[in-house]
């Protein structure tokens, strides 16, 4: 019998199981897009039948990082920019757990950018949701890596001289095997995309447009939006890297010109996940590492290997 009986438990899961008793009502500002992520995540998990105790939600620091406080599951509210390395190790160590990482655009594309690139490259079997509000919310509105060129803030009073980062293109180039963009104003699409991302075997990256009415006044309610899969104007194959690349590029440009494009951009079902690659090389045990600590059984000793070195 498993020491982790919440994993894979077959039962109906209701959305409100994810609502904690301590702080059932989030303290985000009224109209904040972060509510949309919370709602979509709860809906997706319930529909997939994932229960709170088989989920580990790792967040960074920011308004977005507060997600953990409003979503009842195993949680790890880490430090600014570091949700990914914590999350992917948890998945390697205890691979039955459904691991989700989440954080802001500053957290994931700025201070944690290096981890983003490498986690995508390695194709860890997990989901990463980036709350993209084009601003540093928690620290009061400073310019972020996705802020538009010319964006004024207290730390860039003369307007941002930098061109914003291209999160979708970067993700694709780095190696993510599922890349999508959704928006808080599009709750049904958001929920479906998160479901797909979770079910995808490999690194899934969801760039989630979350309006920040408090600090990003000139923006952006991200309406009207276009779902590129539903629109006749866009026709490309999400399995084709080159076509995806082009669609992403256009989508990233369009955002700063006032057109909000969302949907699935890239899906690679062929590429094995990092854990599969490691196992194929004998670099990772077949079963769950964490489980082994709860089982009876013999453990190897250094004494048995000493002649190799000494």
């Amino acid at each position: 019998m498993s020491a982790f009986s919440a994993i894979g438990e077959e039962r109906e899961v209701a959305q409100d199981e994810f609502t904690p008793s301590i702080e059932p009502q989030p303290t985000w500002c009224p109209g904040c897009g972060d509510y949309g992520v919370l709602k979509a995540l709860k809906g997706a998990m319930a529909e997939l039948g994932k229960n709170p105790e088989e989920i580990l939600l790792c967040t960074g620091i920011g308004c977005s990082g507060k997600l953990n406080s409003y979503f009842d599951s195993y949680g790890f509210h880490t430090i600014h920019g570091r949700s990914l390395p914590v999350a992917r190790a948890a998945k390697l160590a205890n691979d039955g757990v459904e691991v989700i990482a989440a954080g802001g655009d500053g957290d994931g594309y700025g201070i944690g950018g290096n981890h983003f690139i490498h986690t995508a490259r390695e194709n860890h079997d997990m989901t990463y949701i980036v709350f993209n509000n084009e601003v540093f919310g928690l620290t009061k509105g400073q310019t972020s890596p996705t802020s538009p060129k010319g964006h004024k803030s207290k730390t860039q009073p003369n307007g941002n001289a930098k061109t914003p980062i291209r999160p979708l293109s970067m993700s694709l180039t780095a190696g993510a095997s599922y890349v999508a963009r959704t928006a808080a104003v599009n709750p049904n699409q958001a929920k479906e995309i998160i479901k797909e991302a979770i079910q995808h075997d490999g690194f899934s990256h969801v760039d989630f447009l979350t309006q920040c009415p408090t600090w990003n006044k000139d923006a952006k309610q991200y309406v009207p939006y276009v779902d590129i899969q539903d629109s006749e104007d866009y026709d490309f194959d999400v399995h084709d890297r080159r076509e995806a690349q082009e669609a992403m590029h256009e989508t990233e440009d369009a955002l700063y010109e006032g057109t909000v494009l969302t949907g699935r951009y890239f899906v690679d079902d062929e590429r094995p996940s990092y854990q599969a690659e490691k196992r194929a090389r004998g670099d990772m045990p077949e079963g769950s590492l964490a489980e082994r600590y709860f089982e009876d059984g013999d453990w190897e000793r250094s004494y048995d290997f000493i002649d190799r070195h000494a």
């Binding site: 160590a93 590492l289 250094s302």
Partner: protein
């Protein structure tokens, strides 16, 4: 040469295979019954540069390198004459001979490769040979190597000559070669070895070797291990099956040993994008139910500062290794120093909440790494094992039975699902993971995936259920509980029987050292006592929580104390005073920071000259106690 010990030095260029040859020769000496100790000196480059490895062998215990040495094999630097690279470095070629003469003892032996080295290029060579009564053997090592195999095998030829001159039985060397290689390579090496041996016997009077080496006998099987092996084996035997790292000298030693073992023990090793990630991965894996570790050297450890604080705040068990090298910044990558002590003790914001061990030899590396895992997982606290470039690379023989121990994969203070049922939970079932009260300050953990165990771990201050809170009463209760663990850990460490004081117990002069310098101090203390200079020594290897009682008892028992450390700012001296709050007028310092570890004679001299006002002859600095001059 009739010393009662052999200190054999083989010198050449980096990349000339000196490491593996000396390793094998050290093992051969060990198997012949001697105690051995190796010391490697190398520059931070892949090829070229003046490199040597020294093996000290004796029938007595050896805990340190010696003062100088008595047998040189100078190979010649192959990089210095690499025609393909169009690289000729003139003098560099003779450096393996020229640069090693200063430390060669009177009456010592020189074997040099006459195929490569020309003594005419060394100033006053013949005169120095005569003055110092050195015995010189010029042998065409390269020629012998080339005749049977490849040029690189000239280090094997050097071993053959050594064996012939010292009368060491070559069968030990042959066995080791057969273990390490096979086929044509083995045959070629054996031919080189024998040819070199016979050459010396024919050329010189083989029946009367002018070098005698000691002989000895071990009463049980020995293995040759470094401090890095000790740490790696300790981790393995505590059930560590997850290691994350980023290469950095000298930490790479431990990282590599464990990485090679992981596939055979069902573990996972991850080389990641940077050290922030490395430490964060160890935190994530530990949180999710594995025994995990990471580590680095100074620069990389700086990057681990924030994840380390996260482990402190979330009470996630974590073991980190810090392998020191000379700093600041990139410093001297291949040189030891003990100047990261304060860095390890205090880095990361807020009150430090950690345990720090500083083992002094390979066996202590093993034992304290095991202890580190036990404490980390029992008390849910980060534990650091701090050592340095010296201990990382030097090899010693230890009884193989040292490692014949039971494994301990216990996860410490973790509950099973059954046990979780009896624990306090919130209204909707959140487990109270961070209760205000706990035995010895510990509130047990659950692991993601367990039914009835969900909670939030956060780097923010938090309530029992892990909820973010800035309530003053909760804050105080949580801080007090976390601090309570440190007191409990100190108590449990005090209960361990350990021998830390050595030398003449009634002496009124004491020497305190920590970590890797202790073996050298031990030898100095023995010599001083033999010379009628009563001294005792204290070796400290538990740096936090600080062993106050042990230190104050020792300091109280003497009139003067010399604190010996490899740091220019006397960090350990400062840590002692900070913790004890007094004794400034008793504590002097002997400091070394030129990149080389202490030699016993340097410590002996400092003690003998203490208070005399005389300048010290070596590259060390004496700092008098407060109020003295």
């Amino acid at each position: 040469m009739t010393d009662d010990e052999l200190i054999w030095r083989i010198a050449g260029g980096s990349g000339d295979g000196i490491d593996s040859t000396s390793q094998n020769f050290a093992k051969a000496l060990m198997r012949s019954g001697l105690n051995v100790f190796t010391h490697r000196h190398y520059p931070s480059r892949i090829r070229g540069g003046h490199t040597y490895v020294e093996i000290r062998a004796s029938s007595e215990d050896v805990t340190s390198r010696g003062d100088g040495y008595n047998f040189l094999v100078a190979l010649g630097d192959s990089f210095a004459r690499n025609p393909k690279e169009n690289a000729y470095y003139g003098e560099e070629e003779v450096k393996p001979l020229a640069e090693n003469l200063d430390e060669l003892r009177e009456g010592g032996v020189i074997v040099y490769d006459s195929g490569l080295l020309d003594t005419d290029e060394i100033e006053n060579f013949d005169q120095r040979v005569e003055e110092n009564d050195w015995h010189v053997y010029d042998v065409d090592l390269r020629g012998i190597a080339k005749e049977h195999g490849r040029e690189i095998m000239r280090n094997t030829a050097g071993v053959g000559v050594t064996a012939a001159l010292t009368g060491i039985d070559t069968s030990y060397v042959e066995d080791l070669m057969a273990e390490a290689m096979g086929g044509d390579i083995l045959e070629a090496n054996l031919n080189v070895l024998h040819d070199a041996y016979e050459h010396v016997q024919e050329e010189y009077d083989a029946d009367a070797p002018d070098v005698t080496v000691p002989t000895g006998e071990h009463d049980e099987e020995q293995v040759l291990v470094s401090g890095s092996h000790g740490i790696a084996y300790g981790a393995l035997d505590e059930g560590c099956r997850f290691i994350a790292g980023y290469p950095m000298t000298p930490w790479t030693d431990v990282f590599t040993i464990l990485t090679n073992l992981m596939p055979d023990v069902g573990g996972i090793s991850e080389q990641v994008e940077d050290e922030i990630a490395a430490a964060a991965l160890a935190v994530g894996a530990s949180h999710a139910g594995a025994k995990a570790m990471s580590g680095s050297s100074g620069g990389g450890f700086s990057l681990m500062s924030e994840p380390l604080g996260l482990a402190e705040m979330t009470e996630t068990p974590l073991v980190l290794v810090e392998s020191m090298r000379a700093g600041p910044s990139t410093g001297m990558p291949t040189k030891p120093e003990q100047a990261d002590l304060e860095h390890v003790l205090y880095t990361s914001q807020g009150d430090s909440h950690r345990v720090v061990f500083a083992p002094s030899d390979p066996v202590e590396c093993y034992e304290q790494t095991r202890k580190a895992f036990q404490i980390a997982y029992d008390y849910q606290i980060p534990v650091m094992v701090i050592y340095d470039q010296k201990l990382s690379g030097e090899h010693r023989n230890v009884p193989k039975s040292t490692f014949d121990e039971e494994p301990n994969p216990d996860l410490g203070s973790v509950l099973t699902e059954e046990e979780l049922e009896d624990q306090p939970h919130g209204e909707t079932g959140i487990y109270h993971r961070f209760q205000h009260e706990g035995e010895e300050g510990v509130s047990p953990r659950s692991i993601p995936g367990q039914k009835g165990g969900r909670y939030l771990a956060t780097g923010n201050e938090h309530t029992p259920e892990g909820h973010i809170s800035e309530s003053p009463s909760n804050r105080k209760a949580q801080v007090d509980r976390r601090n309570e663990k440190l007191a409990a850990i100190r108590e449990s460490l005090d209960a361990d029987e350990r021998q830390e004081v050595y030398g003449d117990e009634s002496a009124d002069y004491g020497i305190i050292s920590w970590g890797s310098q202790s073996g050298t101090v031990l030898e100095a203390v023995e010599r001083l006592n033999d010379d009628g200079h009563p001294v005792k020594g204290l070796s400290v290897s538990e740096m936090a929580p600080f062993p106050k009682e042990l230190l104050s008892e020792f300091i109280e028992s003497v009139d003067d104390v010399l604190v010996v450390e490899m740091s220019s700012t006397a960090q350990f001296h400062g840590v002692i005073q900070k913790n004890l709050g007094r004794y400034g007028e008793k504590l002097s310092s002997l400091l070394k920071y030129d990149g080389n570890p202490f030699e016993p004679a340097e410590i002996v001299e400092a003690v003998e000259e203490h208070g005399s006002g005389e300048e010290l002859s070596s590259n060390t600095r004496f700092e008098a106690a407060a109020g003295g001059d």
